[in-house]
Amino acid sequence: MRIKEKQKGDVTLLTLKGDMIHDKVDLHPYVKNMIEEGKKKIVVDMGHIKWFSSTGLGALMASYTSLKNAEGDMKIARPSRKIYSLIYQMELREVFDTYDSVDEAVEAFQE
């Protein structure tokens, strides 16, 4: 999995590409580094993720927890049907804010 970082005002956009399965996921260490740099408003764009498993969800959950503990927040943009159905099945809809577009997710931080 590759991670591309882009700043949009005070919100950091992380674009993920590739697979989020098994041990190919290093999102959480990346997010922890960002928190250390003071970046705590994060939008994760999942639009380019090809394959996703519960390991990928574990990485999102850990990233979310680290951000919340640091008084930050995370929004998820463009989750695939598969990702959304896992969030639904694991009853995490109330935890993860999901948006159909990156712009909507970024704007949600301004509200």
């Binding site: 399965i21 394959w51 498993s53 519960s54 390991t55 574990g58 959950m61 694991m90 009853e91």
Partner: protein, 427 residues
């Protein structure tokens, strides 16, 4: 031959004899040594001694990490406390990786190829470096720093270091492979332990309850995942059924699985309801896991006296409930995965069971079976298989489902554990 030519010829011969004896000594010393650290240590010590330098180092390049090819795996110095700074090591290995030839620098401070920021613990004035090549591929560097008495390195020094490097490369590569093999064996041992833990946690046999046909089965994947199922006898008429999937693989998942099992066994008898049991188990698991770990769980109490099933699921795939009249529904009541947030609430549902009703609890390894880059077995195939085999016993139905999955996936590698638990109220 005049006397001066004679003298230089004698000197040349002396040097050659000395070189040969150095090389011979190193070759003899490293033969029979297998441990990487020991081989590195020996080579560095001999270099420091024969080339009259203050420090020596072997830097091995890490192959696996394509993003950081310059990372050193092992560095060995002589006994002095100060060390060559890491960022310089990166610069040097970068230069050598590009040029793949011996490097001799006698005026280090003014050499434009290497720029160091700040004060150095270990001031370098001269250095000599030779690539360690195995079949044309650079596996690392052999370096010596600072000729003693502020002297300069000579062409002869460079030649000797290059020959030592050429001789050592293969030995180092063998030692490195030996080390990797040892690590692999350790990993295999860990997997065996994980498998062992997992196997011991699973029920030895299916429970017998009058009027009910109950069967469970778990097929671990090669990597050992975190599936488990359990039957807990609460009293004569009530039996708790658990099927869980712990995130992650290997020993950590197995240990967490053991933890969850112990928690549930402790809770099952004392908790009044399924929902309460999950709420408490969630709290326990939250306090005993790191933030990357969680578990999905289906928990139910089968009351065989009142023919009722009460259940709650914690983020687990909803089991399939097939009624005798062939209508089908999903057992959806419940709440969040276990271990993610300290406080979570769970719904529960009670279902009255009639003769011929059955329900199938499964882990996601069942529906996600198949190549991740292709189609998976999916819920609809599972439902079809259950409908087709509804007249069979629970055990036979499990066999039919596993068979259907195997014929769907072919010979492909099983990625995840597959676990099934079936309860049927007999006709």
């Amino acid at each position: 031959m005049n006397p001066s030519e004679n003298r230089s010829e004698v000197q040349r011969l002396r040097n050659s004899v000395k070189e040969l004896s150095i090389l011979n000594e190193i070759a003899t010393a490293v033969s029979g040594v297998w441990e990487l650290e020991e081989v590195v240590d020996l080579i560095v010590r001999k270099c420091v001694k024969y080339l009259h330098v203050e420090q020596g180092a072997v830097m091995l390049l890490e192959e696996e990490n394509a993003d950081k090819p310059f990372q050193t795996m092992v560095r060995r110095m002589d006994d002095s406390q100060s060390k060559v700074p890491y960022h310089f090591g990166v610069q040097l290995s970068g230069w050598m990786l590009k040029n793949k030839e011996p490097l001799l620098v006698n005026d280090f401070q003014n050499d434009e190829r290497f720029q160091l920021s700040g004060e150095m613990d270990f001031p370098i004035h001269s250095l000599l470096s030779a690539p360690l090549l195995v079949k044309g591929k650079m596996i690392g560097l052999l370096n010596v720093f600072n000729k003693r008495l502020k002297g300069d390195f000579t062409e002869d020094d460079q030649r000797i270091l290059s020959i030592i490097a050429a001789q050592s490369a293969q030995v180092l590569e063998h030692a490195r492979l030996y080390k990797q093999e040892k690590q692999l064996r350790k990993l295999e041992e860990d997997l065996r332990v994980a498998r062992d833990i997992q196997e011991k946690l699973l029920p030895k046999e299916d429970p017998h309850r009058e009027g009910y046909d109950i069967a469970g089965y778990s097929l671990p994947a090669k990597e050992v995942g975190g599936d488990y199922y359990d039957f807990i006898e609460i009293d004569d008429s009530r039996l708790a059924l658990c099927l869980g999937d712990i995130s992650g693989k290997g020993i950590p998942a197995s240990l967490l699985m053991a933890n969850l099992q112990a928690t549930l066994r402790g809770q099952a008898v004392s908790c009044a309801s399924c929902a309460e049991c999950l709420k408490k188990s969630n709290r326990f698991l939250y306090h005993s896991t790191n933030i990357q770990k969680f578990a999905t769980l289906f928990y139910a109490i089968l009351d065989t006296k009142n023919d009722q099933l009460c259940y709650s699921r914690a983020g687990h795939p909803p089991p399939i409930f097939l009624k005798a009249d062939t209508s089908m529904k999903k057992l959806n009541a419940g709440g969040m995965v276990l271990g993610f947030q300290e406080e979570a609430n769970y719904n529960q549902e009670a279902i009255d069971l009639e003769k011929g009703d059955l329900f199938v609890i499964y882990s996601d390894g069942v529906t996600e079976a198949g190549d991740p880059a292709e189609e998976s077995f999916d819920e609809w195939r599972l439902e079809e298989t259950i409908k087709k085999n509804r007249e069979k016993s629970s055990r036979e139905m499990i066999e039919a489902i596993i068979e259907a999955i195997q014929s769907f996936t072919g010979q492909k590698f099983q990625r995840d554990d597959m676990t099934l638990l079936i309860v049927k109220k007999e006709k």
